[in-house]
Amino acid sequence: MKKLLSNALISAAILTPAIFSPVSAADEVKIGFVTTLTTGGASIGQDQEKAVNLALKHIDNTMGGKQVNLIMADDGFKPEVGKQATDKLVKQDDVDFVAGYIWSHVLLASRKSVLDAGKFLITANAGPSPVAGKLCHENFFSTSWQNDQTPMAMGETLNQKGVKSLYVMAPNYAAGKDMVAGVERTFKGEIVGKDMTKWGKDAQLDFSAELAKAKASGAEGIFVFYPGKAGPAFIKQYQQAGLRDILPLYTVFTVDSLSLPKLQAGGMEGVLGSVSTQHWGPDLDNAANKKFVDDFRKDYGSYPSFYAAQAYDSILLIKSAVDAVNGDLSDKDGMRAAMEKASFASVRGEFTYGNNHMPIQDFYSRTVVADEDGNWTTHIDKVVLDDHQDVYAADCKL
């Protein structure tokens, strides 16, 4: 036992560097992708992983003549764990690009590690206001949106539909507050009630008290933002409370291709006909999107979510950069310039980058419908915001 212990200690000390030494290979493009692969948030991460793999399949796993070495990393839905995973990608694996990041807090925790090391950071979902404004960075790019944009589109949609009074619900954290701020910015009617519910690990999933208040408020509609598993939970309770005919539902980032199959399985008809806004939809009509959605459905048997679409785009964006410098990964300026052009076939169609490297893009209003096979999906109604740029770009000194 004595021997065993000391042996273990010594061998640990000696072997550690040997086992974990980085493989230095200049002939490949190393991409780290940080997303949520465990805990309840993992369904989003898995959807992103599928899209990344599909993207690599579509590009034959090559960029600028080099093989791509993809390293998936799990953030465990925690900022600290996400930062550790990022540190490992940057310091241990020495990746060229770090992409991914579903959650604002994970992105905010990790961005410094990536940018301080001089690597490129591409967010495939999170878009909190600081990274678009005062914390913008030349090596930071987004293939998603800034948090405020989608709810601003929703506010506009509500105006167009003539909604005069609104009840608002969102989780009580930064993105939730951004969403509420966004809709408040464009909505011209009156907000008659607002509930910010407990979020985080012991997030509130029983909305009975809030729904009772909403119903009693007499609003003409209810706007909610409930990402992840809170979304289906909210919608079920919305239906069980019988609010479908009394209080029409307007959502952002709540109804997506991950929650719809579950809602359908759960028989939650209440969601059919509800309106949401987004920069993308599976039925968006362009060649890149058709190929993406069709192949995704063929390979995985379900519609891709917007998380997946953004992850897919992030790989194509990186490819456009590496292609532009013919695989010379030391040419950071060349790659940056290429990315700023956004010259790849995005599944959202044409778009441009603002000074803060956030997309300037269209936002659509969408309705939940059943497709020809009876599967629930969303249908794009019309463009609400045209070539829309986030409001924080002005704070960015780039």
């Binding site: 465990t38 309840g40 993992a42 369904s43 012991d202 008290a209 208040k213 598993k229 069980q240 399985a265």
Partner: protein
């Protein structure tokens, strides 16, 4: 703040309280009687939800699935008791906490591998998806009434079991003097296994009642188990009566806090300050209450001796 809304919120609080009671009843059984701290009780709650969700998909009937899920969860509990927990009764609370935390990690991961991380929604029959007007102007989802009814029924059943059956006498006797019960010819090990299984069944029941509202998801039990512990501490460890009252108290306070705290705060501070403070305070409310109660009555509201 009209009366009908208040009534609805009271019902909502009652429903939350009853769910908490089902969970804390199991904790009271294991904690009060076997003196065993089981952090993994929440994992049984999760198992109940997942088993019921799978069975609903398999059989197409929620009622049938629920009926099967309760004994199946009890069986899982029995298995866990025999493999791990039985070895720990003679250890101290710290070892209990450590080992059952390990159990949480294992059970959560196993559930994630078996059921995928996405979580499963449970389809309810139409009748349970509807609403009922219990009083003029007071419209409540049927399923929530069902939760209240089932929960009260379970509480009544538990009351009868503990107070009016031989098993209940043995449970109470075991709580006060384990050795003596053994010396009088009762197999304490089997008794404890049985009690643990009952606790697991109650946790499973709570889980499958929540699942149709908030779906079965990984780690769902870890969030609520802390609240359940707060309940039994406030109620007084080992006291079923205390657990019942404290559960309802916390259910009501939490719900009413969420519904009215911002309005109350708006009376004494600016709107903006109230909107910031109210969610924070309402999240803290139950812990605040626990700290205050323990500071005044360190033994909790109904210490076990008065049970």
């Amino acid at each position: 703040m009209e009366a009908s809304l208040l009534l609805i919120q009271l019902l909502n609080g009652l429903q939350l309280g009853i769910l908490l009671f089902l969970l804390s009843a199991g904790l009271t059984l294991t904690f009060g009687i076997m003196d065993f701290v089981n952090l993994a009780h929440g994992s049984l709650y999760m198992l109940g939800a997942f088993i019921c969700a799978s069975l609903t998909q398999l059989t197409g009937s929620f009622a049938l699935a629920a009926l099967l899920a309760v004994p199946l969860t009890a069986l899982c509990g029995l298995l866990i008791e025999m493999v791990v927990i039985r070895q720990l009764y003679s250890r101290n609370h710290l070892d209990h906490v450590l080992a059952t935390f390990g159990l949480i990690l294992c059970l959560d991961t196993i559930a994630e591998i078996v059921w995928s991380p996405a979580g499963i929604a449970i389809a309810l029959p139409d009748i349970l998806n509807g609403q009922l007007e219990v009083l003029p102007g007071v419209v409540v989802p049927v399923f929530r009434l069902l939760i209240i009814a089932v929960g009260l029924l379970a509480a009544a059943g538990l009351y009868l079991l503990v107070n009016h059956t031989k098993l209940g006498m043995l449970i109470r006797a075991g709580a006060s003097n384990r050795t003596m019960v053994g010396a009088l010819g009762v197999d304490i090990k089997t008794l404890f296994s049985g009690v643990f299984a009952i606790g697991a069944a109650l946790a499973g029941l709570a889980g499958l009642l929540v699942a149709p509202i908030a779906e079965a998801s990984i780690g769902m039990g870890n969030e609520i188990i802390i609240t359940a512990f707060v309940v039994i501490i406030i109620g007084g460890i080992g006291s079923m009566k205390g657990a019942f009252i404290a559960a309802l108290l916390i259910g009501l306070i939490d719900t009413l806090g969420r519904s009215y705290l911002d309005d109350i705060f708006k009376l004494i501070m600016s709107n903006e300050a109230a909107e910031t403070a109210a969610p924070a305070i309402s999240a803290m409310l139950i812990y605040l209450m626990m700290a205050v109660i323990l500071a005044i009555r360190p033994q909790g509201l109904f210490p076990a001796s008065s049970r």
